[in-house]
């Protein structure tokens, strides 16, 4: 197993050598007609957030290879300049400056947590490098230089909560990670539970390093909810599902989550710990359409059987990348203003998740949302919601009216 893995890594390293350029080589690249178009990538490849970062980078590498195999962009090859941000916010800022000022990339795809996005977004704004944030997040970013491709709560929570309530009951107990994403998602959960005539028994927040959920499980039992709405995040929080199942609670109170699967919980947990959990995202690897099948097959072929589960962040990054490529094609040049205008023109691509369009007023994506249930360590997609708009961010953001806007709004719910 380990030998295989090492062999695989070596193979990947060699294959990637020509593609993921060493920045040292890039320092003296001439910007000639045949010079590659440089595309920046900032994702965590080590540390706690690497579980999300690795599939994203794999997906971007695939996207670059596909474009290059098809003759490149405007006749020029693409080259990915990637830095491992090491799950450290300071590295994000450092490498963002490096991408903008030294490598002089034309676009950057990057950032996983909202904290990392907010650290680098101003850097790209200041040095005028278009920035794509492709991960699902809490919504509210309003910045003409930034494109947010991932889903926001209005696109997923709005579907998940009523579905779970109609299936199981009206009394909900919310458990969420204690940071902005969790806090804001919990607010949206609360809103949709109330809108559907339900009741919130309690909302508990957990710092990302909490591993012992014993007291919480007792507390939930004391409250006797019909459903648990979970926005727990990360490896440590996976403990909750384990301890919940081992207390024999899984058969008693069902769980619906907007985060289950982000760090492959459905594959790392045992089937009897995870079966029946509901989740909603903009993408599932199990989607049946042909575009997705092709995408998944290519990724698995390219990176071997060890390619982790492909989640929304990886697929979203692929689509964000392809959107920018389409924007450049339509504009006929790589100039920032021209590409932004092209992207704002209602341009769309067909990605693994289906059709993706940039919503002009918010710079978010109008895209499909899916609802799925875990069965035998796989997601089974139950519902498809076509072309969901980012209606949450739309409440606060209108870049057509205020093109100079540049902040993340907290949406009053």
């Amino acid at each position: 197993m380990s030998m295989l893995r090492r062999e695989f890594l070596k193979g990947t390293g060699l294959a990637a050598a020509g593609l993921v350029a060493s920045p040292a080589i890039l320092r003296h690249t001439a910007l000639g007609q045949d010079a590659p178009i440089l595309i920046g990538s900032l994702h965590d490849q080590s540390g706690p957030i690497a579980a999300t970062g690795v599939p994203i980078v794999n997906s971007l590498i695939l996207a670059v290879e596909e474009v290059n195999a098809a003759g490149g962009l405007l006749g020029r090859p693409l080259k990915l300049v990637h830095y491992d941000t090491q799950s450290n916010i300071q590295r994000y800022t450092q490498y963002a400056q490096q991408l903008a000022l030294k490598d002089k990339v034309l676009v950057v795809h990057g950032g996983i947590t909202s904290a990392s996005r907010e650290a680098i977004r101003p850097v790209f704004g200041r040095y005028k490098v278009p920035y794509f944030y492709n991960t699902l997040y809490e919504g509210g970013v309003c910045d003409r230089n930034t494109f947010n491709i991932g889903t926001t709560p209005a696109q997923t929570v709005e579907k998940l909560v009523p579905y779970a309530m109609s299936k199981w009951g009206k009394k909900a107990y919310i458990i969420a990670a204690d940071y902005n994403y969790g806090q804001i998602t919990a607010k949206w959960m609360t809103k949709y539970v109330r809108d559907n005539g339900g009741q919130i028994l309690s909302t508990d927040f957990f710092p990302l390093d909490v591993t012992n959920f014993g007291p919480t499980i007792s507390k939930i039992q004391a409250a006797k909810p019909d459903i648990i709405l979970s926005a727990l995040v990360g490896g440590n929080h996976t403990s909750f599902y384990r301890q919940w199942a081992s207390a024999g609670m899984k058969s008693q109170i069902p769980i619906a989550s907007t985060t289950f699967g982000l760090v492959n919980e459905h594959t790392t947990l045992d089937a009897n710990e995870s079966d029946g959990i509901l989740a909603a995202y903009g993408y599932f690897e199990e989607l049946e359409d042909a575009a997705n099948k092709a995408y998944v097959t290519k990724l698995k072929q390219r990176f071997g059987a060890d390619m982790p589960y492909i989640g929304e962040p990886a697929a979203g990054s692929y689509e964000g990348f392809m959107l920018w490529v389409e924007g450049v094609r339509k504009a006929g040049k790589t100039d920032r203003e021209a590409v932004t205008a092209a992207l704002e023109s209602g341009l769309s691509i067909m990605g693994p998740t289906g059709k993706v369009v940039i919503d002009r007023p918010t710079h978010h994506a109008v895209r499909n949302a899916y609802l799925a249930e875990v069965r035998s360590k796989k997601f089974v997609v139950l519902e498809t919601y076509e072309q969901q708009p980012p209606s949450d961010t739309a409440m606060v953001c209108d870049l057509v009216k205020n093109p100079g806007d540049n902040k993340q709004y907290v949406i009053e719910i």
């Binding site: 591993t211 012992n212 007291p215 081992s246 790392t268």
Partner: protein, 288 residues
């Protein structure tokens, strides 16, 4: 009433987890005055050893109770031979080296196994107390903690190694004076400390999320508990675990886990301020 029993179980579980987490660190710190910052990674290695062997078809109990401590114990001895033994008496250097070691282990495990690994389900299932349900595995953890405390006590109290260990704790030159090879005593001690930590990792594997960086969530708490407990390995670890475990679990139930943690930390500071040498030196002066 039922809730009271469930709560009491939570508290016991909190104490038992702390005892399991800290014992290995306490032995290494108490006897060798080495602060092992790779403690969390030893724990992680124990969990990985369990999960990998269980996924390879080994019986879960053997994976947890035999393979995990054995594997991490061997890792501990290798680490002691290759690294720690050059640094005895240099507290800060050992911290630096074990910090480096912890990064190295995280990096190695990530390189070999990737960022996530398929876990093992919790064995044993649940049981009911009135209308509440709790996990039998929790009771098993409590029993294992008791067993561990009992065995460490018996070893220290009745075996030749225990005698040597106690002598070394009181006076590092004692072992040499008794005609023993302190190098071997240290090597064995480090190995045993590592093995116990591996066991703890194995025991926690079925109830934790298992990722290469999981050790980071435990190291600070273990460190604070061990120092708060004082120099007596058993009395110190047990009493500090009991105190902190109770405070943490009750505060977490009544308020939120954040305040559970914060209150635990504040009580640790108050404890150290009141008893600067740790609990055991104040109340259990001549204990093990």
């Amino acid at each position: 009433m039922d809730l009271g029993i469930v709560l009491a179980l939570d508290v016991l579980n909190g104490i038992a987890s702390l005892v399991l987490l800290c014992m290995g660190l306490a032995i290494i710190f108490g006897m060798m005055k080495v602060i092992n910052l790779a403690h969390g990674e030893f724990l992680m290695l124990g969990a990985y050893a369990t999960v990998v062997s269980a996924n390879a078809g080994v019986n879960i109990w053997i994976a947890m109770l035999v393979i995990a401590p054995l594997f991490v114990g061997i890792v501990g001895i290798v680490v002691e031979r290759c690294l720690i033994r050059f640094l005895y008496g240099r507290l800060v250097d050992t911290m630096l080296a074990t910090w480096g070691l912890s990064l190295l282990i995280v990096g190695l495990v990530t390189t070999v196994f990737g960022n996530t690994i398929n876990g093992v389900p919790t064995p044993l299932g649940g049981f009911a107390i009135g209308q509440y349900r709790s996990s039998l595995y929790t009771l098993f953890l409590v029993a294992m903690a008791l067993l561990l405390v009992g065995s460490v006590w018996a070893v220290l109290r009745y075996t030749r190694y225990g005698l040597i260990a106690r002598a070394t704790m009181q006076n590092p030159n004692m072992a040499a004076a008794m005609g023993l090879n302190p190098t071997r005593v240290y090597m064995v001690t480090f190995g045993i400390g590592a093995a116990i930590t591996g066991l703890a990792g194995g025991l926690l594997a079925p109830v934790s999320g298992i990722v290469p960086t999981m050790g980071g969530a435990y190291i600070a708490k273990a460190f604070i508990t061990v120092v708060g407990g004082g120099s007596a390995i058993l009395a110190g670890t047990a009493s500090a675990s009991a105190l902190f475990g109770t405070i943490n679990q009750i505060a977490a139930f009544l308020t939120t886990p954040v305040f559970g943690e914060v209150i635990l930390f504040i009580s640790a500071i108050v404890l150290i301020r009141l008893l600067p040498q740790g609990i055991s030196d104040r109340y259990f002066r001549r204990s093990l």
